[in-house]
């Protein structure tokens, strides 16, 4: 069916989906630390909004709760925590140089097409108006991974990781009206702990290699190990 046949709220859901996708692109393109944290916060907010909207449209009361949860976690707590960390680590003005940004954006676009192509057979059986959102959320997940691959900054990697989680939440919400409550709670708990642990690790990494450049975390490598031993032998 066509978008014009949808009710206004449904159209809004689709619109939000598009915005979420856009924020992922923005995250990919964004090279300034603080800015990307803010974008991430917006993404979280959008996911929360979508949840609330779904709750309203298909009146699923428990979704309100998870919307609140998402809002609190993804849009407020985590950005705030990252913010604090970034300040503490003194990298708030850090600008990351991504190699061939245009190429990456091109790849990102290709990924969107790909995930649409993958999800195409699914939508046949989708009862909901929000069927293509599966493709969108899959794309968000993949874009998050792409971001993790392309960024050397530990913090931006974490942001990528979190945006993957956003994608998951979004998928769960818009395609299936949310998971059972207990699962939601469990996931939220995990995410929370993860966020804290990330904070811990930033400090640990910082202590061990005086930087957050993950490319310098390469002590443990098969090739390295062998070479070192060969040196020892010589």
């Amino acid at each position: 069916m066509n978008i014009v046949d949808f009710s206004l709220q449904e159209q809004m859901v689709l619109l939000i989906a598009a915005l979420v996708l856009f924020t992922s692109f923005a995250l990919l393109a964004q090279q300034r630390m603080l800015a990307s944290i803010h974008v991430f916060a917006w993404q979280g907010a959008l996911v929360a909004g979508a949840t609330a909207l779904i709750a309203a449209v298909y009146d699923q009361p428990h979704l309100y709760f998870s919307a609140a949860l998402t809002m609190a976690l993804k849009a407020l707590f985590m950005p705030w925590m990252l913010h604090r960390l970034v300040n503490r680590l003194g990298i708030q003005h850090h600008v990351e140089t991504v190699v061939r940004p245009s190429l990456i954006l091109l790849a990102a676009a290709a990924l969107v097409v790909f995930s649409y192509y993958v999800a195409l057979p699914i939508e046949k059986l989708s009862l909901l108006s929000t069927r293509n959102t599966i493709a969108i959320s899959m794309a968000v997940v993949l874009l998050g991974m792409l971001m993790m691959v392309s960024r050397r900054q530990a913090v931006s990697q974490v942001i990528g990781f979190m945006s993957i989680e956003n994608g998951l939440f979004f998928a769960a919400v818009v395609s299936t009206h949310g998971m059972p409550m207990v699962v939601e709670l469990g996931i939220a708990f995990d995410v929370l702990v993860a966020a804290v642990l990330f904070g811990v690790f930033f400090l640990q990494i910082r202590d061990s290699i005086e930087s957050l450049d993950v490319d310098r975390l390469n002590r443990l490598s098969e090739t390295r190990l062998v070479e070192s031993v060969r040196e020892a032998e010589e």
Partner: protein, 672 residues
């Protein structure tokens, strides 16, 4: 009844390994408890074997362990019985020999407990292999045998060379075991089930039958030490304590033979003559190369180990003939060849153990393993010298000893090749027989060298000069085996009668006319065709000897005067003037030069005029070509692959994430 004896043997062996656990507290427990138990086990196994071979029955039972749907199945038929007997006799001899041998280990840091435990397990494994009636128990027993013998090889693990040998041995044993496992897998797949009875019933397509044969041939051949899979054998056998070497060379290789016969002739059943050709060729090559390498060894135990390869080759040659005959529908001739093979298996077990025990005796008395440092031992260890001589004569196939009898049978089988339809086979078999003849002659050269250099001449080192007399147990063990050599050689009919039951069971036909002429005459094919009377030969030799001695010996006056050796007027003699082991083998080394990899280094210092050679040193290393040919390439390939693979993990987390990213994409693309 017999099966009780067989199980009792297993239990006794297990018990011996159990009591040995106390040996690290009380070393003497090995001598007073463990070895006697082994003797009991050996005796029981021998009794069981003879009982079953005597009345040709088939005994079956199951033990309440194993897989839930497949308990351990035990089956003792005449084939198992023969090998039970072999294991039993040698184990008995070793158990008698052992106490005297390990006594010296009791002082010092040697882990005696380890020795005792794994000796017991080793024998348990071998006994169970020949008694197993399902692939699962077979494999367990088989690997138990390999693993425990590996630990025994590692008994002297201080030297790096021994460690290398042990590693190689374990690796080869494991690979061989896997090949056998796969072979059984084929049979089990077709015969739904791991029990041998199911496998016997398995309807195999010729292709899969050949696959199974190939796998088992490789697996058992690897254990038996067929060229080119033999490289581990001369490394591993010599480094174990000598009585263990005797068990490994004398018995363990035979267990491999057993497995081969069991699978090809019993489980697969209908054989194809092509397999016979393979076995024939590989066997003759192994025999020839084995003896050639043996001839070049200066380490007595290495020499014996290589000669084991030779004899295994001979056995497989005979087995190959048997397969050819059976595969071309000549069961009578197949029976002759099979009996010859089994007879030689038995003989080799006996005299090779005898020789290894003798070598062990020397090693223990002189702490020398190198022929170049021995000499003149006959006057110092007369008993060992005498028994070792008998062993040498048997292995060199001299009438009327047992080695000759079996090789004679092999030749007789080969000479019946004329009955084959296929002209190529008719030409091939006499040719392999000629290879066998060459092997025999070289074996004689080899053991003349071994005996002459070790026992005759003058001692080449101080330790050897002061060799002391041996413990009675060790003497007795050697004497026992030597007696068996003579008896089996002089009364081959008895042995052949016992062995005859095996082809009867496997193929339904036996030797009709082997012993029709009575106990005195051995006529495998027909009296007119060929006959051999070992007893008369022995009597003849003795009588002529006596007559000659009686006539020539002067009465009364002192007929013998001792004096310095004449030596064409050179002299006085020094031990360094003798022919060494290396120089003795030189002509043959020169003739067959391409067979070995030879590194020779000659340094000469001449005086200032360059006329007189003041100092001359000659170093030479003879190494096995199979290394460069087969083993190193494989090792290199694995190293190369490992190096390539290790690039996969070069430490950058982003690359890792990329891996999982692209894996995901790939899979998604694949499924949609």
């Amino acid at each position: 009844m017999a099966i009780d004896f067989a199980l009792a043997a297993v239990l006794a062996a297990l018990g011996s390994s159990l009591v040995s656990t106390a040996a690290h507290k009380v070393p003497s427990v090995l001598r007073y408890l463990a070895f006697p138990l082994l003797a009991v086990s050996g005796a029981a196994a021998t009794v069981a074997g003879f009982m079953v071979m005597g009345n040709g029955e088939v005994l079956v039972t199951t033990l309440p362990v194993g897989l839930p749907w497949l308990e351990w199945q035990i089956r003792v038929d005449v084939l198992s019985a023969l090998f039970l007997t072999i294991i039993g006799i040698v184990t008995f001899a070793v158990a008698i020999f052992g106490p005297g041998y390990v006594r010296e280990y009791e002082h010092g840091q040697h882990p005696l407990a380890q020795l005792g435990i794994f000796t017991g397990l080793f024998i348990t494994g071998m006994l169970l292999v020949v008694m197993a009636n399902d692939a699962f128990l077979f494999m367990i027993a088989w690997e138990l045998m390999s693993l425990s013998s590996y630990f025994l090889v590692m008994f002297h693990h201080e030297q790096a060379a021994n460690r290398r040998a042990g590693f190689l041995y374990l690796l080869m044993a494991h690979v061989g075991g896997l090949a056998i496992l796969l072979g059984y897998g084929v049979l089990a797949t077709f015969g739904d089930g791991f029990s041998f009875d199911a496998m016997r019933a398995a309807p195999l397509t010729p292709l899969w039958a050949s696959v199974a044969f190939a796998l088992t041939f490789v697996g058992f051949g690897m254990k038996a030490g067929l060229v080119p899979l033999h490289a581990w054998l001369p490394e591993a056998h010599p480094v174990a304590p000598s009585h263990i070497s005797a068990l490994m060379s004398g018995v363990m290789l035979k267990v491999a033979i057993y497995g081969f016969i069991r699978v090809t002739l019993d489980l697969i059943g209908d054989v194809h003559w092509g397999w016979g050709v393979v076995a024939l060729l590989i066997g003759s090559i192994s025999a020839l190369l084995g003896v050639l390498y043996a001839l070049q060894q200066n380490d007595l135990k290495r020499l014996l180990a290589y000669s084991s390869i030779e004899n295994i080759g001979i056995i497989f040659l005979a087995l190959g003939m048997a397969l050819v005959f059976l595969g071309t529908g000549l069961p009578k001739l197949g029976a002759i060849a099979l009996v010859a093979a089994l007879f030689h298996t038995f003989n080799h077990a006996i005299f090779k153990s005898l020789l290894f025990l003798g070598a062990g005796n020397i090693v223990q008395r002189t702490h020398e393993q190198n022929l170049e440092r021995m000499g003149g031992l006959l006057t110092r260890l007369p008993y060992t010298g005498f028994f070792f001589l008998i062993g040498c004569m048997s292995i060199a196939a001299l009438p009327p000893f047992n080695g000759f009898a079996s090789e004679w049978l092999t030749f007789q089988a080969a000479l019946q090749a004329a009955e084959l339809k296929n002209g190529v086979l008719r030409a091939l078999i006499p040719f392999t027989a000629a290879m066998l003849a060459l092997t025999g002659a070289l074996a004689l050269a080899c053991f003349v060298k071994a005996y002459g250099v070790a026992f005759l001449g003058q001692p080449r080192s101080r330790r050897v000069r002061h060799a002391r007399k041996t413990a009675y147990g060790m003497r007795f063990a050697q004497g026992l085996l030597a007696t068996i050599c003579v008896l089996a050689g002089v009364f081959p009919n008895v042995v052949v009668n016992l062995l005859d039951t095996i082809p009867r069971m496997l193929t339904g036909t036996g030797l009709q006319s082997a012993t029709t002429q009575g106990w005195l005459w051995l006529t495998p094919v027909a009296p007119g065709v060929a006959s051999y009377s070992a007893p008369l030969v022995l009597v003849g030799i003795l009588v002529t000897w006596l007559i000659a001695w009686w006539f020539s010996h002067p009465r009364g006056a002192r007929s013998v005067r001792r004096g310095p050796a004449w030596d064409c007027g050179f002299g006085p003699l020094g031990p360094t003037m003798q022919y060494t082991s290396t120089s003795f083998a030189m002509p043959i080394r020169r003739i067959f030069a391409p067979v070995w990899g030879i590194e020779e280094k000659i340094e000469r210092q001449v005086d200032e005029y360059g006329l007189r050679v003041s100092r001359l040193s000659h170093q030479q290393r003879v190494y096995d070509r199979s290394w460069a040919a087969l083993y190193e390439p494989i090792a290199r390939w694995v190293q190369f692959a490992a190096r390539r693979v290790s690039r996969l993990q070069q430490g950058n987390i982003r690359v890792y994430i990329a891996y999982s990213f692209f894996t995901l994409l790939l899979l998604l693309w694949v499924i949609s």
